[in-house]
């Protein structure tokens, strides 16, 4: 059997739309019980009875992260706290923290969503699944834990960091699947090699789920080759439960977003108008399956586009293209908008380069400049001219991609800080007044 829930996963789009409308109405009713949406609906003179089609959704205002912060901790709750069974909170590193509440039913639905994703990429109950996400408030931990348990896989809550311990588990337990951040996957492969362990022969790994930070197709291929696995891109965010919102199928061509769980819109982040399929914009999501804390037209800040056309896997839920970064990750340099992922895509094409790089933006003599330090791989040459032409070649390709010329510096292997959590790839040292 190929599907976790065949009826839903292959439901024709028109039926799916009907299903969504029914769920949308229920969601709006329940949302209006929260102090926040009660106020929003009344301030904007919105009567839920007037929402009679999916297009009508556009009459409703967006919900933003700032709304979540302003209503911290409990003003978004649509049911009494007594009926809530779990709370997740974002760290608040970039501002005040936010809270997401769940009922027991919400958690069960979420676990089902994650199990559906894992099943889609071929993970089964006979698999041994090691989760290298941080547990606690970070949803990648408990989210995958409950999903994997629902699927029936033997789940190892290894949690984040401590590479040697991770390797010991992989070896001793015969781990077959991992959930791992892409930058940590390459790091783990390096540690394996350093410990004299052949990742291709001495592990039983076959499938890994990578997500939580944007990565390029080149990086995925590199991870697959290093570890001898199939790697699938997963997407989620704590505001939308966590992992499982969208996930790649075996085609590895776009992430199916589960439209029985959310309504998808892609908007231009400046004009706030919808963009056509294929055009990159900000992902906006409305929950359809959450009672404790429904969100209506939530602006995720994540940039992606809809891939049009049917997927050969038979699933009808639409696909999102690889994420281009976040609208807040965007670097504006000399009037050019760029994303770190563009730089990574160029760097990863060079086999002479390693996996670690650092982008620094700084003001030099009143001019903003971009510096890129990138580590060399093992393939070191004694020939000076080869290094120089490598350097020139990379710079030229970066210029073609970015439309400005960064200052590239090749650095020795292992000289950049090692990343064990979400990789910090950009340092912006500019002084803004």
């Amino acid at each position: 059997m190929q599907y976790w829930q065949k009826d839903i996963e292959t439901m024709p789009q028109n039926e799916l739309a009907e299903f969504q409308l029914k769920r949308l109405k229920e969601t709006l009713c329940s949302a209006s019980n929260s102090p926040f949406y009660k106020r929003v609906f009344s301030d904007n003179n919105i009567s839920i009875d007037e929402i009679n089609s999916l297009e009508d959704l556009q009459k409703l205002p967006f919900t933003t992260k700032e709304d979540l912060r302003a209503n911290y901790p409990f003003d978004m709750a649509a049911i009494p706290l007594r009926q809530c069974t779990r709370l997740h909170s974002s760290s608040g590193t970039t501002g005040d923290p936010t809270v997401v509440l769940h009922s027991a039913k919400d958690l069960d639905q979420w676990a089902n969503q994650v199990a559906r994703c894992m099943y889609m990429v071929g993970i089964r109950d006979e698999d041994i699944f090691q989760n290298t996400s941080g547990y606690g408030m970070f949803t990648g931990g408990l989210g995958f834990q409950y999903g994997a348990e629902k699927l029936g896989a033997l789940t190892v809550p290894a949690a984040a960091g401590n590479s040697r311990r991770q390797l010991k588990f992989i070896k001793d337990f015969g781990t077959t699947c991992l959930h791992i951040i892409p930058s940590y996957a390459t790091r783990l492969a390096e540690v394996m090699t350093a410990e004299g362990m052949d990742p291709l022969k001495e592990t039983k790994l076959h499938t890994i789920c990578i997500g939580a930070e944007p990565h390029s197709e080149e990086q995925r291929k590199r991870i697959e080759k290093l570890l001898g696995v199939k790697a699938y891109n997963c997407f989620g965010m704590s505001e939308m439960n966590g992992p499982g919102v969208a996930f790649e199928c075996k085609e590895q061509n776009g992430l199916h977003i589960w439209e029985d769980y959310t309504i998808v819109e892609i908007i231009n982040p400046v004009t706030l108008q919808p963009v056509p399929d294929g055009e990159v914009g900000e992902l906006v999501l409305t929950t359809l399956n959450r009672e404790a804390m429904p969100l209506v037209r939530y602006r995720t800040r994540d940039l992606t586009s809809i891939i049009s056309g049917d997927c050969p896997c038979g699933r009808t839920h639409r696909r999102l293209a690889r994420f281009q970064g976040r609208s807040d990750d965007m670097i504006i340099l000399k009037g050019v908008n760029l994303f770190p992922i563009q730089i990574e895509t160029v760097l990863m094409q060079f086999k002479e380069l390693g996996n670690n790089y650092l982008i620094t933006i700084d003001t030099i003599n009143n001019s903003d400049e971009m510096f890129i330090e990138v580590e060399l791989s093992d393939l070191f040459t004694d020939d000076y001219s080869v290094l120089q032409s490598l350097s020139k070649n990379i710079t030229r390709q970066l210029k073609d991609e970015l439309l400005l010329t960064p200052r590239l510096k090749l650095v020795a292997k292992g000289s950049l800080p090692v990343q064990e959590g979400k990789a910090v790839r950009v340092k912006d040292l500019r002084k803004f007044n």
Binding site: L376, D382, A412
Partner: protein, 141 residues
């Protein structure tokens, strides 16, 4: 006919050179000759050591970007024109020198040489009867 030279990628950073040299000398391997070619960002350190394979392994184990390159080590006596005569014999067959550095050892000069054609260089050295040292000699130096 050749010896293994170790080439090391070196960042222009305070203390890098001594750090890398210490890795080798701590294991009682002698550095016989060294040269650096540099730009403002990085350099290539080239060294001849008493035990190249052992030193190379130490560097790799310490995650240093390095490689082994076969170079010629010619022994030249101290007559005025011996170096120029040796060079001339390479030039006449069309060989180019990629890089070269020398060091002196007990009245003799040793020239480390990398050319654009290893095989042709070998022929010239043989035909002209130029003196050279081989890798197993290094540990005795």
């Amino acid at each position: 006919m050749t010896v293994n030279q170790i080439s090391i990628f070196l960042e222009n950073k305070y203390g890098k050179l001594s750090e890398i040299m210490a890795l080798i000398t701590d294991q009682n391997i002698r550095i016989i000759a060294a040269t650096i070619a540099d730009t403002s960002d990085y350099g290539i350190l080239r060294i001849i050591v008493s035990e190249p394979q052992k030193a190379y392994k130490i560097l790799k184990d310490n995650n240093v970007s390095a490689n082994l390159t076969e170079v010629f080590a010619l022994t030249i006596n101290s007559e005025t024109d011996s170096l120029s005569r040796a060079m001339e014999s390479f030039t006449t067959v069309g060989l180019s020198i990629e890089y070269m550095y020398c060091f002196s050892l007990k009245e003799k000069s040793i020239i480390i040489l990398r050319t654009n054609d290893q095989d042709l260089t070998r022929d010239v050295i043989e035909k002209k009867g130029l003196q050279y040292i081989i890798e197993s000699d290094l540990i005795k130096l």
